[in-house]
């Protein structure tokens, strides 16, 4: 039972981490409150579902192709639209994002209808795998694997590579980074695109938890905003732990007090933010 709950929580947390990590980095980097980040998860999910069901593209291939396509789209959107909003008032940023979410949701609804879009999985993933005498759902194992691998890769990339050092410098002090000759514009675009790609990956993997529908962007929005708020801005470790914490709360309440789940989650979030306004792992 305990192992089962831990397994579920880890799977849920992995999805949340993938979708929210891009938001956390862009928020820390550009100070831009991107309430529209969930559209990348939605776009990735729909791309994969449509390509697998309609065109017969293998699901594992879409796990790579959909994030790449989403990254390209995210880069274009950042250059043409989002970049105009950096440094604008909070109200403008919030409204702009609401508008983008409306547009994306409406387009999806016009194109694919208001109903739930099924995500066809390869049969091998729908089986139960025996590990150390316990049965695990293979799909969840994959989700956890991808989540943990991404977390480790990002941590390594950000702390041990040159590109990571540049991003950290830009987050720490944008003005200083610019005055030593770093061009922050392309850095912003690249991180935005990377965040979009990871969001798409999370959107594909999370399709079974949240259910692919035209309101997908809004459905995941609340949870990823919570993760980022609790973690604090721009901390990768924090994002992973916060995603895990939300996963644990959600899974535990689903097991023991299903009817109180939402109340419990938002009460905890409210209390945490009250006690630690900068998040659990944010720098003061």
């Amino acid at each position: 039972m305990t192992a089962d709950i831990a397994f579920q929580a880890l799977g849920y947390g992995s999805v949340l981490y993938l979708i929210s990590v891009g938001l956390s980095v862009t928020l820390g980097l550009m100070g831009f409150i991107n309430l529209a980040h969930g559209i990348f998860a939605m776009i990735g999910g729909y791309l994969a579902a449509v390509a697998v069901a309609g065109w017969g593209v293998p699901w594992p291939a879409m796990l790579v192709l959909a994030p790449l396509a989403t990254a390209a789209l995210a880069a274009v959107l950042e250059r043409t639209l989002f970049a105009r909003l950096y440094g604008r008032s909070e109200l403008d940023q919030v409204l702009f994002c609401i508008g983008i979410v409306f547009i994306a949701g409406a387009l999806i609804r016009l194109g694919f209808g208001p109903t739930l879009q099924p995500m066809p999985l390869p049969p091998a993933l729908r089986e139960t795998v025996q590990v150390a005498g316990m049965g695990f759902y293979a799909y969840k194992l994959l989700v956890i694997g991808v989540g943990v691998a991404t977390a480790l890769a990002l941590l390594f990339g950000l702390e041990r590579t040159r590109a990571g050092a540049i991003i950290r410098a830009a987050v720490e002090n944008r003005g200083m980074a610019e005055s030593v000759g770093l061009r922050t514009g392309p850095i912003f675009t690249a991180t935005f695109a990377l965040g979009g790609a990871l969001g798409a990956l999370g959107g594909i993997l999370g399709a079974d938890v949240f259910g692919l529908n035209p309101a997908y962007a809004l459905d995941v929005l609340v949870y990823i905003q919570i993760v980022v708020a609790i973690a604090g801005l721009g901390t990768l470790r924090g994002s992973f732990l916060a995603a895990l914490l939300i996963g644990v709360i959600q899974t535990l309440s689903a097991y023991y007090v299903p009817e109180m789940g939402t109340i419990l989650l938002f009460s905890v979030v409210f209390l945490l933010l009250l006690l630690r306004p900068r998040g659990l792992f944010g720098r003061v």
Partner: protein, 326 residues
């Protein structure tokens, strides 16, 4: 240099100029009078527009004048609606006291929540208000013995207004009632934002550090504005519950809160007419476009918001200003 040119005199003249009665302020009552002329089939739309305008006005006070961006204002609308509705279900359907109860409950909630969330800023503040409205929605959903849960609060009865005017089937009394409340709040807010208190709140919005260094009690003033704004939102909610004789989960939702922000931005935040014009334009647009294809309406709305933010900050009224300045 007479007394008139000295700063106190200038200040007095400036205040007098702001408080002066302007003909433009009669536009709202006149527009409200136009609905009965159009015909009884417009009462329902007019009532809805008046209620939404009231709600957006309350949001304008907080977002436009105090500069506090919230994603959870629907919480207070819902508290007002449920409070008035529950009192009525339990056997007290007098409309005016119902309004007062709804507004008071929402104002108390606003004072408590404001005192908590205003200690934070930006992203955290947004998240706290967002969590608050989701929490409110979950509680309203869960406490079905009190609120009716998913089905909504049914069995609300509203007694005749002032003991004389029945709420009729055509919605004439309902419309007149909503219009009167809106006009009263409208003039009240007009007075408030030009009063010293309203001016100081705008000063805090423009430069909180400077306001604090001038000796202004920043947090208490913002909390008071938060409570007033919440109370007015509750008033709008109570009004809706009494006229529609129903309160539902939609009244206390993030979607409704976001919708109100959108309406405010379309009209123009930080000015009272923005809230009213935005509400009218939004509801008419929705009435005309959303009937056939809600997705298409959502698409155009999204495009419109993005265009307003990028090209016309200040909304419809901002455009009007710029056209006039040219």
């Amino acid at each position: 240099m007479g007394e008139e040119a000295s700063p106190p005199g200038r200040f007095r003249r400036e205040m007098a100029r702001k408080h002066r009665f302007r003909l433009a302020e009669m536009l709202l009552p006149l527009a409200l009078l136009a609905v009965p002329v159009l015909g009884p089939e417009y009462y329902a739309l007019g009532t809805q527009a008046a209620i939404v305008a009231l709600f957006v006005l309350s949001l304008d006070l907080l977002v436009g004048y105090a500069g506090v961006v919230t994603l959870g204002h629907g919480l207070f609308f819902g508290v007002g609606a449920y409070a008035a509705g529950i009192v009525s279900v339990r056997g007290w359907g007098e409309p005016l006291s119902g309004l007062a109860i709804g507004a008071a409950c929402a104002a108390v909630c606003g004072a408590v929540l404001g005192a908590i969330v205003l200690r934070t800023a930006r992203f955290t503040l947004l998240m706290l208000t967002l969590s608050a409205v989701f929490l409110g929605n979950a509680i309203a959903n869960r406490a079905s013995w009190l609120t009716g849960g998913v089905d909504g609060l049914v069995g609300v009865t509203t007694w005749p207004l002032l003991g004389r005017f029945e709420f009729d089937l055509f919605g004439r009394t309902g419309y007149a009632y909503a219009a009167c409340v809106l006009v009263l709040v409208w003039f009240g807010l007009h007075w408030l934002v030009h009063a010293p208190f309203g001016q100081s709140v705008q000063g805090i919005r423009d430069n909180p550090d400077r306001a604090a260094s001038l000796g202004m009690a920043v947090l208490p003033r913002q909390t008071l504005v938060f409570a007033i704004s919440a109370g007015l939102a509750g008033l709008a909610g109570a009004l809706q519950a009494e006229i529609n004789q129903f309160a539902g989960l939609k009244d206390v939702s993030f979607e409704f809160s976001a919708e109100a922000l959108v309406i405010l931005a379309l009209g123009g935040a930080g000015r009272l007419y923005g809230a009213v014009i935005g509400s009218a334009a939004y509801l008419i647009g929705q009435d005309v476009l959303a009937k056939d294809n809600p997705a298409l309406w959502q698409l155009w709305l999204g495009v419109l918001i993005v265009a307003v933010v990028l090209f016309a900050p200040g909304g419809l009224l901002g455009l009007l200003d710029r056209a006039r300045a040219r």
